[in-house]
Amino acid sequence: MKKIVVRFCGDSGDGMQLTGNLFSSLSAILGHEISTLPDFPAEIRAPQGTLGGVSGFQLQLGSDVYTPGDKADVIVAMNAAALKVCTLGKHYHDHAIVIVDTDAFTDKDLEKAQYKTDNPFMELGIPETVQIVPVALTTLTKEALKDSGLDNKSMLKSRNMFAFGLICWLFDQPMDEAIHLLEDKFKKKPALIAPNTKVMVDGYNYGQNLALSINQIRLESSVEKNQKAGYYTSIAGNKATAWGLIAAAEKSGKRLFLGSYPITPATDIMHELAARKDVNVMVVQAEDEIAGVCTAIGAAFAGDLACTSTSGPGLSLKSEAIGLAVMAELPLVVIDVQRGGPSTGLPTKTEQTDLMQAIYGRNGECPAVVIAASTSANCFDFAYEACKLALENMTPVILMTDTYLANGTSLWRVPKLAELPVITPQSVPEELKGHYNPALRDERGVRYWAFPGMEGFEHRNIGLERDAEKGTISTNPENHERMVQARKAKIAQVVNQIPDLRVQGNASSDTILVGWGSTEGHLHAAADELNCALAQFNYIHPLPRNTREVLSQYKRLIVCELNTGQFAAYLRSQFPELPIEQYNETQGQPFAVERIVKYASK
């Protein structure tokens, strides 16, 4: 077997995210490719045992893994509500293995999960082809811990570890690596290591000794053809983003400054960076979104690598200040971890609906660079790239990720700083000392960066229009037009620094799927099935130089997006001659490969 999809689901308090993350890390360490999809309710703690409180974690592991999978092959359902949510949500195949905790199907559990009969399996109409594996998880966990001296409540908290152990057995994953991971996970709470390890190992042995009526699943170890040799680990998108910023700061010789305000699903970037004082990161948790970006602009004015992290509502609030950074021509990295909108919308769900806001959502002619990451792991690369483009072009760069990338994990090849591209901030040449002004540009049209503390470069920067020669306030009509063009040209020349668009899949097909950002995995898998081409954009504004040349080769262009057609509209505005067709979903969930295939097969 090449790849398989597993879904852990249970109550919010059952530790499903932890279990999923541990299993992902273990799978990555064992050399599998992974892609994960945490799917949790917005409520911190919904009433226990209810449908609203079900938390899920899906992952695909193996080789040629591009997505967390449309449907699971193996399900662990920790209670009756979880089974119901998974079944009604069509989260698993007709031939799936469904492991259920039989202790969590009491009358009371069934009532809380709003079953009408006392036979949940019949009531849900689960087909006979599905293999139900009943395990008395709760009883077995208590049994495992009977000598631990823990109280009943504490014992029950380890149920997820029994399930984890059992899944490890199912996939024939070695216990010693799992124990090592657990020790690392609980290193700050050492008292928890022993009981959790005991339960996990008992779960594993339960599978082994009782020879459950299911066969172990052996995955071919994945040696990816295009993969570079090196050290690999699993990483979530938000952490990868944070580390990309850290790497760029060190490479550029600038101190990293993050001004931010808590907002789902971006906050983990701030959490990670706030914990990284060891590598000299400064984080200001500001009083609001506006202050988040404004403190960053202050730090950029003062010569730091300045960033702000947010989600859609925060991007709206930051619009005016991003315009200031465009006008003042300061380097600034804005990370937008998109979520379902508009307004407060679906804070924990994924969507690609901020694209137009990122490209155009500011007053005036206000061009900025917009790029998008397309896997959890390459959030690192594009965060790094955002910093590089900002520092070298004296401009705000908006990096688009989303809930799916941010919370999901994928396999990441850990780079060394030395192998990352050089970053050369646009520092002012020493010979301009004494006659510097903030309008002076190099031959690319990029102005020079001088900041407080540098003797002989004192100047006044402004959000007002400035004179193209002297850098002082100007309301002259011709000057304004000249400056509008200068700012536009500065962003346009970034095209010289970005790679050409690369076609994936069957390039000679008549059909090409077109996407941007986080949909790459799903579109890649769909293109494979359809045997068609795929163009996935990471560079949105400016677009790669060969975009027209590539796209004009196809008879059928299907732009697939998790919005109502923002990138499609953008492409139409740039290339009106292209016959653009669009496929869109706005359900707060990633694409399902089968739906794209079905649509494109029409």
Partner: protein, 335 residues
């Protein structure tokens, strides 16, 4: 250094007769007196008449967007605490659109010197009432008079746990210079309320104390360690009296030789008396308006604390570089 060292080459575009001219001059004098070189000074402003100030100072300057000067200045100072950072703002920029940043820079005690120009009007947008316009004030946006209660800036500063508050008057340049120098010397958020006249849209708003003949009777310049005396002949003093029934303290005017005359203690941590003094003459005119440094106490600054925490963590950190950090990850080697 000379005041001229701090003059930029820009033509000063405040209206003729505007109080901002005087503050600009006082700033240049104060900066020369402080003696910090121009390249180590950053002056941040938002939008409004007063926010033009950075253009007229030969330091680093950043004239930003409306209300956000406080947040941007916080970013400059926190990231680079070695710089001297000033913020130029007005009653609209600071107390209306920028109110949130204003109270939080004070709460955090960021080491900034904030000049808050209070002319009780929106001048640059040509005459709308501001958060400090008195109730009933008639303006273009309140043709029948405002129905709003105004802010008293000092009260807001103290409510946000401010460590420094001074008040000065455009026409009193020496007191302004003293206040600005004291603001720079104070570590933490130093708020200087500069009462300025808007000659075009709100002429005479501070006339009660600005008129030379009345000033001595209607204002008092507080100096730390000195008796609180005022009046044309310095014949009046201030004392505090506690109402025996309600226990509410209030300031009263007594004769200069009365033993109850207070001695000003700007360094007192308890803000009770500072508040009473700062509120004098704000809502009605029965007591003189306090000018000078009213409150000046020490507390840890945000910029210092943030940088210290980073230094402390780094001193004991195992991984201090990106490569050292990634080496702590659990990884697998793949050929």
């Amino acid at each position: 250094m000379q005041a001229s060292d701090f003059k930029s080459d820009q033509y000063v575009r405040f209206c003729p007769g505007c109080g901002d001219h005087a503050i600009c001059m006082a700033l240049q004098k104060a900066m020369a007196q402080i003696g910090i070189p121009t390249h180590q000074v950053a002056v941040i402003s938002g939008i409004g008449c007063s926010s033009r100030m950075p253009h007229y100072l030969n330091t680093y300057g950043f004239n930003t967007i409306h209300g956000r000067g406080g947040a941007i200045a916080t970013g400059v100072k926190t990231s680079h605490p070695e710089l001297t950072v000033w913020q130029m703002s007005g009653d609209g920029d600071c107390l209306a659109i920028g109110g949130n940043h204003f109270i939080h820079e004070i709460r955090r005690n960021v080491d900034l010197n904030v000049c808050m120009f209070n002319n009780r009007i929106y001048g640059l947008t040509k005459g709308q009432y501001s958060p400090t316009s008195p109730k009933g004030f008639v303006s273009k946006s309140s043709p029948f008079g405002t129905v709003e209660r105004p802010f008293i800036p000092a009260e807001l500063v103290l409510g946000a746990r401010g460590t420094f508050f001074a008040r000065t008057l455009d026409v009193d340049v020496p007191t302004t210079v003293d206040c600005l120098v004291a603001a720079q010397q104070h570590k933490g958020a130093s708020i200087v309320e500069c009462l300025v006249n808007c000659v075009i849209f709100n002429n005479g708003t501070h006339a009660w104390i600005a008129d030379r003949e009345q000033r001595a009777e209607h204002s008092i310049i507080l100096k730390h360690g000195e008796k609180m005396l005022f009046g044309a002949n310095n014949d009046k003093g201030l004392a505090v009296e506690i109402d025996p029934k309600t226990f509410v303290p209030r300031i009263i005017v007594v004769a200069a030789d009365d033993p109850r005359v207070l001695v000003h203690d700007a360094h007192q941590q308890d803000p009770t008396l500072h508040r009473l003094l700062a509120l004098m003459g704000q809502e009605d005119h029965d007591l003189p308006v306090a000018l000078g440094v009213i409150r000046n106490v020490e507390a840890e600054t945000y910029d210092e604390a943030v940088n210290k925490q980073i230094a402390d963590v780094r001193a004991n950190a195992k991984a201090k570089t990106f490569d050292e950090l990634t080496a702590t990850l659990e990884t697998v080697y793949k050929e």
